[in-house]
């Protein structure tokens, strides 16, 4: 009797499990069990739209621009085994962005900060290519990769290497990596806006180390510490700080930022209900004075082999950067070289996001050996001062809320 593709795949998964630590940490393809090269070709495509809510009329000048950003994203990936101990993967991203973005703040009659948007004239596309290769040995994995991302006004090149070492009979995995990103900014319309630089550059050096442990046959835990040093032009060339009385200053965040992140992730499968829970928590700290907490719960509920419904909820809260200022008062004249930014992303706020994803796995009557997985997902993100862990007296007027819709198809050969 001919066995179904699914049965054979399950067998293969079991076979893989026999040789796997099921603990891969951050492979290019984000696979969990990775101490052998992947054994099949997998390709996927996804289309998503990101749209930000209109700015509330009370948070800008009457008649001011209120529409915000829209992004449509297309992603494609391909992962393939090259030999038994070597595999490669590739990810392509194409994004088109349009709309208006927060420019600077001023105050209304009551002295509350209000947001002034740029005109809805931004039109940009971003193309991103990322490549990653993995070399596997008995004791671990060595990965290397690079990427190139280009926009009209921004080019980024990155290189990285990462690896894993298994020990304790492959129940414990030590992982680590090093990364480097070289970015070049060429802000548009710098001749029209004298505060914008013509060309600037930025470098990022990053590293992480993580430890993963199999707790028992249905749960895993992993902790990691990441560090990144950003150096160079870190300001936002499209944002300004407004001093009441019609004077504008350029966004200035200084030339260095050290960032530290501690992340803990826990996965557990519940066989009785066919569900898998993912829990994660991250604490973040940087030398700009920002600290943040992030907690997320993902619930993957399976209904048989074909259908999976996965709701998730994520909470985030950050403190403001030391130099965040909505606007300067009339007599507040900054010394040259003073760091300051009116960017709402550097203000104190909290955010709640929730969403659900449905996935359907199927086979067609032809090419029965190929497995298809189609998904649809929606995510809603809300941010406000009220959601912050610490009290925020004057929340930034530009805080964003957005909705992401996504559809995709993955093919496993």
């Amino acid at each position: 009797m001919r066995r179904s593709r699914r049965e054979r795949r399950r067998e293969r998964a079991t076979l893989r499990a026999l040789t796997s630590s099921a603990l891969a940490l951050f492979g290019a393809a984000g696979r969990a069990s990775a101490d052998t090269a992947i054994d099949h070709i997998e390709t996927s495509y996804s289309f998503s739209t990101y749209s930000e809510d209109k700015l509330e009329s009370s948070k800008t000048l009457p008649g001011g621009e209120r529409t915000r950003y829209e992004i449509s994203t297309q992603q494609a990936s391909l992962a393939a085994p090259i030999t038994d101990w070597f595999d490669m993967s590739m990810q392509l991203t194409h994004e088109t962005m349009s709309g208006a973005s927060p420019w600077y703040n001023t105050q209304d009659a009551a002295g509350t900060p209000i947001q002034i948007m740029s005109g809805a004239t931004i039109q940009d596309t971003r193309n991103d290519l990322a490549l990653h290769g993995n070399y596997y040995t008995e004791q671990g994995r060595l990965g290397f990769g690079g990427g190139y991302s280009t926009e009209n006004d921004y080019t980024a090149m990155n290189f990285g290497t990462d690896g894993e070492l298994h020990f304790n009979e492959k129940n414990t995995t030590l992982s680590g990596g090093l990364g480097l990103s070289l970015d070049t900014l060429t802000p548009t319309d710098s001749d029209l806006y004298p505060l914008r630089p013509k060309e600037e550059s930025k470098q990022s050096y990053s590293t992480f180390v993580g430890l993963g442990q199999i707790i028992n046959r249905r749960s895993l835990i992993q902790g990691s510490f990441s560090y990144k040093w950003d150096k160079g032009y870190l300001s936002d060339p499209y944002k300004e700080v407004f001093r009441i009385g019609d004077h504008h200053y350029g966004d200035d965040r200084g030339g260095s930022r050290h960032q530290f992140a501690f992340l803990v992730r826990y996965n557990r499968h519940i066989e009785e209900t066919e569900s898998t829970i993912h829990l994660s928590y991250q604490y973040y700290l940087d030398t700009w004075g920002v600290s943040s907490h992030m907690a997320e719960l993902d619930w993957y509920q399976n209904f048989g082999d074909a259908i999976q419904i996965a709701p998730h909820v994520r909470y985030y809260s950050q403190t403001a950067a030391d130099f965040y200022i909505p606007y300067l008062r009339l007599k507040q004249i900054p010394q040259p070289g003073t760091r300051m930014s009116s960017d709402y992303r550097l203000s104190a706020y909290g955010a709640l996001s929730f969403g659900v994803k449905g996935e359907y796995a199927f086979h067609t009557p032809w090419f029965r050996d190929i497995e298809w997985r189609a998904h649809l997902s929606v995510e809603r993100y809300l941010s406000s001062g009220d959601l912050s862990l610490s009290a925020v007296s004057v929340p930034a007027p530009g805080l964003v809320s957005f909705t992401v819709l996504s559809a995709g198809l993955a093919v496993v050969f």
Binding site: A13, A17, L18, S20, A22, L23, A24, F26, A29, G30, R31, A32, S33, S46, Y69, Q75, S77, Q91, T93, R126, G145, G147, Y148, S149, Y154, M157, N168, E169, N171, G179, L180, S181, K202, S206, T207, F208, I214, R217, R218, L220, S226, K228, D236, Y238, A261, F262, L263, R265, H269, Q282, Y284, W288, V290, S292, Q308, Y316, Q318, R345, Y381, A410
Partner: protein, 117 residues
């Protein structure tokens, strides 16, 4: 003659029934069955009380830390037990949060920058 053939067939049928039901007495003896099992060697009492080794060392030496054997990992190898079951979605969400929040995503090194308005 005919009767004895009938008995033979019956005996065969019964034997095949038992062999299918996994009766170990047919073909294999109980002794063999247990002979393949290896009982763990429990350490002598003295090793706990008189050894200068730490408890961690003792635990490691005697395999007391729970280790999941390779053949017990079918659940851990599930697709939804991956840290990021959908890599494209994970990349997109990570990029979105990175560009809208003042926090870098942990657990990895590198990644491309962006203008991110």
């Amino acid at each position: 003659m005919r009767v004895s053939r009938g008995v033979g067939v019956l005996a065969l049928a019964i034997a095949s029934l038992f062999s299918q039901s996994g009766c170990a007495t047919l073909g294999q003896t109980w002794d063999d069955w247990f002979g393949e099992m290896k009982l763990p060697d429990f350490p002598a009492f003295d090793e706990y009380t008189e050894s200068p080794k730490s408890y961690v060392e003792i635990a490691l030496e005697h395999d007391f830390l729970v280790r999941v054997k390779p053949w017990e990992r079918s659940v851990l190898a599930r697709h939804d037990m991956a840290w990021d079951p959908d890599e494209l979605e994970a990349a997109r969400r990570s990029h979105t949060f990175f560009s809208k929040e003042a926090t870098m995503p942990g657990g990895s090194a590198g990644g491309g920058g962006c203008g991110c308005n």
